[in-house]
Subunit: 231 residues, 2 copies
C-alpha cells in the first residue's frame, strides 16, 4: 500500500540536521563554524548542516554532514533538540534536528576538508550566526555541562594521553568557572578510572606533569558495580 | 522569493508529534494510551499523536494534539527527543518529535474527550504499542526520573494540596524504588518550599496526615539565591 493511502493530505516538511561541533585546543573550548558561500547566505556564519535525505535516518544524516564537512567519522555525537518554529529559517520553513559532536582537534585537524570555509572559534570569537544557530549553541553548551558532570564524555575532547592540569582546564572551560586544583585532583583520582602512565608532559614545566589515560574498561566495570561518575 | 528557489530538490518529510502523557492516580504513575479506531491500525494501542501542519510550530502541534485528545491546555509539556529511523512507522516514513506532558488526573479526568478510546494505564498494564512508542515511553520515564531529581516537576502530577506520604509515594513511583520515610521527610522539609496547611487528609488514617502546598514563589526566590532543589 502506498504512503498516500495511509496518510492522505498530511503536509510534508523540509527537515535538516545542524551540527554543533565542539573541540578543545590550547586550553580553550572551541566550535567549528562555517562561512557560507552559496547564495542566498553568502558570507554568513553558521553551523554545519544539511537536509535529511529520503531513506536516511536522522542519526545517519548528522553523521554524513559531519563526514562531508570534516572528513571524520566514528565521532561522539548525540541529539540535542528538534527546532521547529515556523519562521526560524528565513528561506522558508525548515524543521531542524540539532546534534552535538565532540572532537579531538589535535588528532583530526589535518583531515579537515578544505572545501569548506570552516573555522575553530572560541566561545568569545563566535560572530552572529544565521537563524537560531546561536540559540542552538547556547543549548548545546548547557547540555554539555549537564552531561559532563555525570558522564565521562569530556575525554572525547582530550588527546588519548593527558595531564591532570589539562583535564581540569577542560572542565573549567565546560563549566565556565575555575575549579579548585586539589579538590579536582582528589575527586578524579578517587574514582580510579585513570591509568597513570610512565610518561610526562614537559610542555608546561621543566619538572613535567604526569600523563594519564582514561580507562574505559575499568570505568565500565566500576559503573556496573554501582559507581557514579561525578566531577 | 519562493522556497523552492532557496532549497531546490530537497526531500520533504511527514513530521508528526507523539505525546507521552503522565498522570498520578491512587498512588500509581499512569500513562494515557489510546486504542486506535481508524484503519489501518484498528484496535492497535498507541500514544496520542498527529501530523505537524503547515504554519504550525512543533510545540503548537504537541499542544494541539493534547487539547484535541484530552480537552486540556496550559499543561506542563517538554520535548523529549526526535525519532527518525527510516522504518519506524510501518505506514511509510514519518519523523516523529516526542513530547511528554504531566497531568493532574483527579482535576482533569471529567474533561477527557469521549471521542477517543483513551485509557489511563499503569506501567504494568501497558500493552504492546505500535511502532517505536514503547521505546518512547521508556525514554520518557528515564527523562522524568532525571528531571524530577533536580526540578520540582513532580508537583505537576499531584493535587494542589497533598500529604507527605502522597508526595513520597509519587517519587517512589517515578524512581521505581522505595524511599526511606524519615529521610524523605527531612530532605523535602529542609528545602523550605512546602507550605503547611491547616487541613488534614483523613482518607488513610483516623488521625489524618497534614496537607501541604508547593510554594512556587518561595521556590523561585530560593533558587535565585542559589538553593538547589534535590530530592
Amino acid at each position: 500500500m502506498s504512503l498516500t493511502a495511509f496518510y492522505p493530505g498530511a503536509t510534508r516538511h523540509l527537515v535538516a540536521v545542524d551540527c554543533i561541533i565542539f573541540g578543545f585546543d590550547k586550553g580553550q573550548l572551541k566550535l567549528l563554524i562555517v562561512k557560507r558561500s552559496p547564495a542566498p547566505y553568502h558570507g554568513a556564519w553558521s553551523l554545519m548542516g544539511g537536509f535529511v535525505d529520503d531513506g536516511e535516518s536522522l542519526d545517519a544524516a548528522a553523521a554524513r554532514v559531519l563526514k562531508v564537512n570534516t572528513g571524520l567519522d566514528s565521532i561522539y555525537m548525540d541529539q540535542l533538540h528538534c527546532y521547529g518554529d515556523v519562521d526560524r529559517d528565513t528561506g522558508g520553513r525548515v524543521i531542524s534536528v540539532a546534534y552535538y559532536a565532540l572532537i579531538r582537534i589535535s588528532e583530526h585537524l589535518p583531515q579537515l576538508s578544505p572545501d569548506y570555509d570552516a573555522h575553530w572559534l572560541t566561545l568569545q570569537e563566535i560572530p552572529d550566526l544565521i537563524f537560531d544557530h546561536g540559540k542552538m549553541i547556547t543549548d548545546a553548551l548547557m547540555r554539555l555541562r549537564d552531561k559532563a558532570h555525570f558522564h565521562p564524555i569530556g575525554f572525547e575532547l582530550l588527546p588519548e594521553k593527558f595531564s591532570l592540569p589539562q583535564l581540569r582546564n577542560l572542565y573549567e572551560e565546560i563549566y565556565q568557572r575555575p575549579l579548585d586544583k586539589r579538590n579536582f585532583r582528589k575527586k578524579i583520582l578517587s574514582m580510579d578510572v585513570l591509568e597513570k602512565l610512565d610518561e610526562k608532559d614537559k610542555s608546561t614545566s621543566k619538572k613535567g606533569a604526569n600523563l594519564y589515560r582514561f580507562d574505559k574498561k575499568k570505568y565500565k566495570e566500576l559503573t556496573e558495580r554501582g559507581m557514579v561518575f561525578e566531577i
